[in-house]
Every structure is written in C-alpha cells, then in structure tokens.
C-alpha cells in the first residue's frame, strides 16, 4: 500500500479507531475533547490522495475498493473541515453536560459514515457507509430529549430506513447487472446501460439519494430534524450529512442518463423554490436555515440534471464545487446561531451579524463572495435559456430567504437562550474560522480545480450577477413589512398530509391482527394444515403430468 492508500483507509478509519478506543474508560472520558481530531486524516486525504491509485482488497473478486476522484476529494475536504470545526464547537457547546459522552459516540459513528461515502468505491462499502451516515444521525437529533426532538428523530429514522430500502433494491439490481463477481461501482455503472432494469435502478437511486439530499417531496425530515438537534449537530446535518445524497447522485448516475437529467433538473428547481416559499414564513432562524438547505440542494441537483441533459463536460467538478461552498457556508451559519444566542452588545454586531450577512448574501450570488464563485462554477449548466432564468430567480429567492434569516438571527435575544451561559472562546473561533473558509477557500480553489480565473468572474456580467441580489433585497424589505400576513407553514410542511396515512396503517395492522387471531384457532389451523397438504400434492402432481 502506498501512503495515499493509507490515507484513504485512515479517512474513515480514524473515527472508527477512536470509537474502538472508547471501550476503555480513560479515552471515553476524554473523547468529547478529541472530536475535532477525528476528521483530520480525511482532510489530509482530500489534500494529498486525490486521484491516487485506488485501494483494492480481495482484488480477485473486487469486493472492497476505496478510491477518491477530484470532485469527491473536494467534497471530502470541505466536509472534513466542517466536522472538525463543529467537533471543537460541540465540546465547547455541550461541555460537561450529562449526555456529552453519549453524544460523542453517536457523533463518531455518523462521522465515519459521512466521510466513508466519499471514498467507498464498491457497492457494499458504499451502502454500509451510507447506512452509517443515515441511521445513527438519530442519536444526534434526539440529544436534547424533548418530545419535539424525539418526533423529529423518529420521522428522520423512518424516512432514512425507507431511503435505505430504495437503495438496497437499487444496489441489488445494479449488482445483478454486473456480469462477473465484481461489486465495484465503476463496473456496475459500465454494465447499467445494457440492463433491462436500468430506469428502475436509476429511479430507486434518485429516490434514495434524493431523500438524503432533501429533494421535494422527500425533504420533510430536514426542516424537522435540523432545528431540533443541538447547534453543532445541526451544522453537520445541514452542511455535511445531506451531501451524502449529493455524492450518491454524482457517483451513481450513469453519464448517459440524459433522459433522467431533465427530470432531475425539474425536481431540483421545484425544490429550490419550494424551500424559499416555506422558509420565509418561519420564525426560528434554524428552521429558516434548514429550508435554505432544501432550496440550495435543489439548485445543486438542478445543475447536475442540466449537466447530464446537455452533456456538459466537467459537470461533476462544478456541482461538487457548488456543494462544497454550501458545506462551508451553511455549516458556519448554524454555528453562528449558537454564538448569536449568547453574545451581546457591540461585539454581537461585528462578530456575528455582519459576517453572517456577508455569507447570507453569498447564497444569492453577491459578487466577491465565495457564493458568487459557486454560482459561476455551475454557469455552464444553469447559464442559458429557461433554466438560466429560473436559476437567477432562485438566486433572488435565496437572497430573500437569507436576509430573512439574518433578521431572525438578529431578533434572537441573548437572554432568550440560557443553555450556554458563558461563551466559550472555541465557539467563536469555530464560527469565524468556518465563515472565513466559506469566503476565502472558493477563491483559493477556483483556479487549481480548473474552473477558470476567479478574477474574471468578478469582472464579467456584473449586472447579471447583481440583479438577483438587489431584487431579493427589495423583496426582503417587503417581507419585513408585510410578512406577518403570510400564512404560517408548519415545520415539515407536507408532513401534515401523512396523518391520514397513519390511520390507514393502524387499520391495516388491526385487520391483520384480527385475521391472525382467527388463524390461531384449532379448527382453522387444522383446516390450514389439510389445505397445505392438498395444495402441495396438487401442484406437484400437476407438474409431474
């Protein structure tokens, strides 16, 4: 094994190693303070091991493969950075509270899955990593133990399991399409175009990954779970965990899926506007942010879909760049909500609200911000025609939504939250560090990743970049003035429709229970036994004839 292959293994092995160390008491006690260390090998892998040789264990059957291409490395790096900052933040935020150790355990499991999806290159390891990032997130969400957190956790868990089911079926069909015993994703994708089940596979995968990425109508868990979790967990949920869906779509959609490209673009744009529409009626700044995540993931998927439909070269890198900016900026803003809840006075304005405003405008594409570069990166996909216009309108919507967020953030009075009485310096450092990364890293990475010269973006089409921001700002003023008249949308909007489905499930369960009780009566069981004998005999006799 070469050094870069060791790094691939260490990227998700480090959190698992820490987890194993927790079998002993001493590491377990120190664990909450060590969380920030766990993602660092992954960060190193993102920097040093991109496009290196894949690591293949059991090469004869290709059962276990790790690999890291450039777009995945970009996302892996961003996600690792956020997990590290949020880990440091979590130690300061939860401190010595009871349950901090339990939280740290859930954190490490989710972390290993969250990093693992970017390096796993065979179906089984990817599925395992995806399950690790989906299911244990429940523990992060219900940390506070309130009924609201529990409900959010249950809805998330249920939907995550359904997503897993869709993926499992999709992967089973994919594995079946491969002629040999190989389970490598690359082989599966190569075999997919000839498979008779192709559209079913792609449909199942889009459902499974779209659920994680928050595509409407499968997004309902996101605005419930993200506000209910503790701040650092919200940051990684919204910043890092939803990206498991994005990397899945990037990795598994075959390059010839032009037909699905249009579908994805439509779903993505609908999601983008849906998120804005629901988000502007929310009061809780965390819920506003969660809806903004829904909206932004919609734009990401729309860019991917248009890239597939138009067969634009370099789509994977452009989409990864857009998503990586979202990792950094959205993660940072969630951390800001926690800082804003305890910091008062003038420092609140300079250290929380002002940077938050800059990041917020970045989501609308304000020239000069990292967000503007992210928007420029997906320009080839979302540049022209109707999609271009809709993308610009969604940028306007994002500006509106994020300004609404800034207003709600400003409205949170420090006295309102007593959970963190004193501000630990690490909270402030984590937030400002992530904010700086969200602003500056896109500038530093734009050229090395082959997307062009960042300074050209600043000069080109200033008016085109500015109008969504200005129009969004005007709308934000209108919202501030008349927004009170808008109808309230409950968190998890479409979820209110599921009440009836729950009643139906209950009725089915009761009916099955009655039937089962009837079958347990002696005469019925005797008849069933007789019927089984006759049915078996009859079938076999008919076949023998």
């Amino acid at each position: 094994m070469t050094g870069s292959q060791y790094l691939l293994l260490a990227s998700f092995g480090a959190p698992l190693g820490l987890l194993i160390a927790c079998l002993w008491e001493a590491p377990r006690r120190r664990l909450p303070g060590l969380l920030w260390l766990a993602p660092l090998p992954a960060l190193a892998a993102a920097l040093l091991a991109a496009d290196g040789p894949p690591l293949v264990l059991d090469p004869a059957r290709l059962r276990f493969t790790l690999a890291l291409d450039a777009p995945s490395a970009l996302l892996l790096g961003a996600v690792a950075l956020l997990w590290s900052a949020a880990g440091a933040y979590a130690h300061g935020y939860l401190g010595g509270k009871p349950g901090a150790r339990r939280f740290a355990l859930w954190w490490l499991v989710t972390l290993s899955g969250s990093l693992g999806v970017f390096v796993a290159a065979d179906l089984v390891s990817f599925y395992l990593a995806f399950a690790l990032v989906s299911l244990p997130a429940f523990g992060l969400i219900v940390q506070d133990g309130t009924p609201r957190a529990r409900r959010a956790g249950e809805v998330t868990l249920l939907l995550a399991v359904l997503g897993e089911v869709a993926l499992l079926l999709g992967f089973a069909l994919l594995g079946d399409a491969v002629p040999g015993p190989s389970l490598a994703i690359a082989d599966a994708l190569a075999a997919l175009p000839d498979s008779p089940a192709r559209s079913m596979v792609v449909g199942l995968l889009v459902a499974g990954f779209g659920l994680k990425a928050g595509l409407v109508p499968l997004h309902v868990w996101l605005p419930l779970a993200h506000p209910a979790a503790p701040m650092p967990a919200s940051a990684v949920l919204s910043g890092a965990i939803v990206k498991a869906g994005i990397i899945g779509l990037l990795r598994f959609l075959p390059p010839d899926a032009a037909d699905w490209g249009g579908v994805l673009a439509g779903l993505g744009l609908a999601t983008a506007f849906w998120g804005v529409g629901c988000g502007i009626t929310q009061d809780n700044p965390k819920t506003v942010l969660a809806y903004s995540t829904v909206s932004q993931m919609g734009v990401t998927v729309a860019a991917l879909g248009m890239g597939l439909a138009l067969a634009v070269p370099g789509t994977a890198m452009a989409v990864a760049f857009y998503a990586a900016h979202h990792v950094l900026a959205k993660g940072a803003l969630f951390l800001a909500v926690g800082v804003g809840a305890v910091l008062g006075g003038a420092r609140r304005r300079t250290l929380v609200l002002l940077p938050a405003l800059v990041l917020a405008l970045g989501f609308g594409g304000m020239p000069g911000t990292g967000g503007a570069l992210a928007k420029a990166a997906v320009k080839p996909q979302l540049g022209d025609g109707l999609p271009g216009l809709l993308a610009a309108l969604s940028a306007m919507g994002s500006t509106l939504l994020m300004l609404h967020f800034t207003r709600r953030l400003a409205a949170v009075r420090p006295a309102a939250a007593r959970s963190v009485p004193i501000l630990a310096p690490v909270l402030l450092a984590a937030w400002l560090g992530m904010a700086a990364a969200a602003l500056l890293l896109p500038w530093a990475l734009y050229r090395p990743l082959g997307l062009g010269n960042p300074w050209d973006v600043l000069g080109k089409d200033l008016a085109m970049a500015l109008w969504p921001v200005l129009a969004g700002a005007l709308l934000a003023i209108a919202l501030a003035r008349w927004g009170g008249r808008l109808p309230r949308v409950p968190e998890g909007d479409l979820l209110v429709l599921t009440g009836r489905a729950g009643g139906l499930g209950e009725a089915i369960g009761a009916a099955v229970a009655r039937l089962e009780a009837a079958l347990r009566a002696w005469p019925v069981a005797g008849m069933a036994l007789l019927a089984l004998i006759l049915a078996l005999f009859g079938t076999m006799l008919a076949a023998a004839r």
Binding site: R63, E154, L519, R520, G526, M540, A543
Partner: protein, 503 residues
C-alpha cells in the same frame, strides 16, 4: 459413496458425548449434573468446530456407518456443509444458554439437589443429543426419532417451573407437534413402501414423480412446516414462548425449529424429484412471505416483550422458506447464493433470537414485568441487555454489517437475478417492519423510568441484574452481527455436499 470417511469417528463422538453425559448426569444428580453439562457442552462446541474444520478441509461430506454396515442395511451418520454449520451454531448457542443458566438454574445453596435445576441440566443435554442426531442422521426414520426426542426435551425445558398455565400452552405445542409427526411418519411409510429404503443418500436421484412419492413429500412437508410454526400453522409458538423461561425460549426459537428446517432441506433438495419440488416451491415461499409480513405486523402490536420476540420468530422463519424457489429455479451460481443465504439466515437468526430472548428475560427480571409500554429505566438497570437486544435487532432487520444483512442481501440478489422480484419486496418490507418493533423496544427502554407516586415498596424499582448473563446475551448478539463481517468466500463450507453444487 464410501460408507465411512476419515474423520467419521468425530461424528460418533459428537453424538455420543451428550448422550453419555446425560446418562451420567442423571445417575450422579444434583450439582454434578450442572458441572457435567457445562463440560459436555463446552466439549461439544469444540467437537463441532473440529467437524466443521474437517468438512471444510476435505471439501466433501464426512460419513460413518454404524457397526460397519453400509446402508440400506445399516445406519449412516453423515456431515456435509449444512450439518457442520448448523451443528456449530447449535453447539455455540447451547453453550451460551448453559452459561446463562448458571445463575437462573443453579442448585440452591444448602440443597444437594433440586427438581427444577436438575431437570434443566439433564434436559439441556438431552436437547443437545437430539439436535446432534437430527443434524447428523442420514436416514429419514432416524431423523423422525431425533425430532421426537427434540420435541420432548424442549417441552420439558419449557414447563420447567411446573405452572398450570405453562402446561396448558405446552400441551398445545405437544399436540400440534405430534400431528406434524404423524404426517411425517405417514410420508416415510409411503416412501419405504415405494423404495425399500429411507436412507437419504440412496433415495437421492432415485425418487420418481409418481403419486405415492409426491403424496409422501406433501405429507412430510406439511408435518415439518407445522413443527416449524410456518404461518398459518403457528398457533402453538406464541403461547409456548409466553410462559417458558428465557433459556427454553432461546433454544426453542433458535434451534429446535431449525432442526425441522434442515430436515426439510434434505427432503426438498435430496429426496424429492427436482421438477416437482421446483413447481411447489413458490407455494412454500408464499406462506413464508405471509409469515414475514403478518408476523412482523402482529409483533409490532404486541403489548408484551416476550410475545413480541415470539412473533418476530414467526416472521423470521418466513425468510427461511424464501430460499426454496430461489435455490431451485435459478442457475447454479444463483442457487449457490440462495442456498448460502438461507443457511446463513438460519444460523444468524439462531444467534440473534437466542440473544433477544435471553435479553428480554433479563429485562423482565429487572423490571418485574415485560410490558413494552412501561420499559422505561431498563436502559439504566440492564444496559448490556438493551445493547444486546439492539444488536440482535439490527441483524434481524438486516442492517449492515451483520449476518442478517448478508443473508438477506444474498436472498435479495438471488430474487432479482431469477426475476422473482416480488420476494425482494417482501424481504425489504419485512426489514422495515422489523425495524419498527425493534425501535419500539429500544426507544421504550432508553427513556427515563416512570415516576410513580406509589409509596416505595409498592412498585419494585428496577434492580441491576448480575453481569454474567447479560454478557452471554451480548456475546450471542455479537456473533450474529459478526457473521456479517466474514468474507463470503469463507462460507464455502455450507456448499459442501449440496447436490448440484460445483465440487
């Protein structure tokens, strides 16, 4: 096939050891029975490992002809891959149950002998002997005898405490199992009349698709299905578990039904004419699918923890029947996959279900009840048990990495590969429902204990159970999960001796 192979004497030892230990224990009595049982079951686990290693190394079944007489005149003991795997599973689960029983079924201090502990250890050995006979036997009539021994040993374990309510539900089990035995026996008579032998290896490939043979197959299958509690013939299983002590439930659900399963495999894959078997297999699988869905839905609605686990068994047994149409219809590669999936499901379910019943018993012991609605505080009183229950639940649901996941993945991909995708939907649907009832238990146990305003002394506070039995439950759950970490190639064992498998 040669009547005896090198290593065949291992099979004799595996059978004689528990029988001899039981007889000696019966004579010595009291505390000696416990010590002897533990030693014999420990040795049995070692022997099972040796048998598995010998089968794996030889790549061919082991055989031993009793008294040097080859069938059809004499009786043969045979161990192929399935036998070795199930023998090892049974030996490990029995050893775990014995270690678990050291606290619950020890002879009380100050007494030389007490009825219930003495019976527990003797019948545990009897059960071990019956299981060995059921797995090793190569003759349909011998297998019938083994199954009867098994039923009676399990029955005795289940009504160890001698409560009237136990007798009522165990009588139900006895009656239904006997009906199954009668049907099975009728089938063997028909087969003997047709072929003059009941030796499985001799019958294999010789069976004709005529009416008596097919009727025999139908009768025997129905009889075994009744003994396995295949839905809708499961009326005896939930009540039998409701009153039984946890150790009895663990072996009843985990092992006793699996003996009938192995016999069913012998019947369907060795004895029955392949065309007829392939035609009737979807019928079995359909009942299995009904078991998965109905059993899981009913488990989801149970109010008592033990009944929930019992209905979970009804559902998980269903998965075993899904392998029949998959292993009989597909090409050789798919058949091998489905076969492995079925055996792995039997084995991982044995470990997981034993872990669940032991954990459920300890939880009920610590709380003084097993109402699911009031499980709060269990997480604090018996944390290891709750973890064991959760891990076993993961394996039952089929969450990776676990033995249950590998088993269900193999069945799932076989279903897809043979174009029978409807079984795939049942597999994943059952997984979701399983997740529902496991979640109910876990979420309930992890909440804070209910605050009662009853005076102290009225409501028993959750008492911490001793650590040993909890660790046994955890170890079983870990084995069930750990099966999923083994590379698939190492399961080549279970293909040894399968008819139609590449050598």
């Amino acid at each position: 096939m040669s009547p005896a192979t090198p290593g065949g004497s291992l099979l004799v030892l595996a059978l004689i050891l528990p029988v001899a230990a039981m007889l000696v224990a019966f004579v010595l009595g009291g505390r000696a029975a416990e010590r002897l049982a533990l030693a014999a079951l420990g040795l049995g686990a070692l022997l099972a490992m040796l048998v598995a290693a010998a089968v794996y190394r030889a790549g061919a079944p082991l055989a031993y002809a009793v008294g040097g007489w080859a069938p059809p005149l004499g009786l043969a003991l045979r161990a192929d891959g399935v036998t070795a795997a199930m023998l090892l599973t049974a030996a490990l689960v029995l050893l775990a149950v014995a270690l678990f029983g050291r606290t619950g079924h020890a002879t009380p201090p100050g007494l030389a002998e007490a009825r219930a502990p003495f019976a527990f250890w003797c019948f545990l050995l009897a059960l071990s002997a019956a299981l060995a006979a059921a797995f090793l036997g190569g003759d349909l009539f011998n297998l019938f005898v083994a199954l009867e021994m098994l039923t009676f040993a399990a029955l005795a374990l289940a009504c160890l405490e001698g409560k009237p309510s136990q007798f009522r539900s165990e009588l139900r089990y006895l009656l239904f199992a006997l009906i199954g035995s009668v049907l099975y026996l009728l089938g063997t008579v028909l087969l003997y009349g047709g072929y003059g032998t009941l030796d499985i290896a001799l019958l294999a490939g010789r069976a004709r698709a005529d009416a008596p043979t097919l009727l025999a197959a139908a009768l025997m299958t129905a009889g075994l299905a009744a003994k396995m509690a295949l839905f809708p013939l499961h009326l005896w299983l939930p009540p039998a578990h409701a009153g039984a002590p946890p150790a009895a439930s663990a072996v009843l659900s985990g092992l006793v039904v699996k003996a009938s399963f192995v016999l069913l495999l012998r019947l369907w894959f060795w004895v029955m004419p392949p065309l007829a078997a392939a035609a009737a297999a979807p019928l079995l699988a359909a009942l299995g699918a009904a078991a998965i869905l109905a059993g899981s839905l009913v488990a989801l609605r149970q109010a008592r923890l033990k009944l929930l686990v019992a209905y979970s068994t009804v559902a998980q047994i269903g998965y075993l029947f899904l392998m029949f149409p998959l292993a009989l219809a597909g090409d050789a590669e798919v058949a091998a996959r489905a076969w492995l999936g079925g055996i792995l499901q039997a084995s991982s379910h044995a470990f997981a279900k034993a872990a669940m019943f032991l954990a459920a018993g300890l939880i009920a012991g610590a709380l003084g009840h097993d109402r699911i609605a009031a499980l709060g505080g269990a997480g604090r009183a018996v944390p290891v048990c709750v973890v064991a229950f959760g891990l076993a639940g993961l394996s039952l649901m089929g969450i990776p990495p676990s033995g249950g996941f590998t088993a269900k993945w193999l069945l799932l991909t076989s279903a897809v590969a043979t174009g029978q995708w409807w079984w795939a939907l049942v597999i994943v649907g059952g997984g979701v429902l399983t997740g529902g009832y496991v979640y109910r238990v876990l979420a309930g146990s992890l909440t804070a204990p209910p605050v009662t305003d009853a005076p102290i002394g009225d409501a028993p506070l959750p008492a911490a159970a001793s650590r040993g039995p909890q660790l046994v439950a955890l170890a079983l759950a870990l084995v069930s999960v750990g099966l999923g970490l083994l590379p698939l190639a190492s399961f080549g064992l279970v293909q040894v001796g399968r008819l139609g498998a590449a050598p």
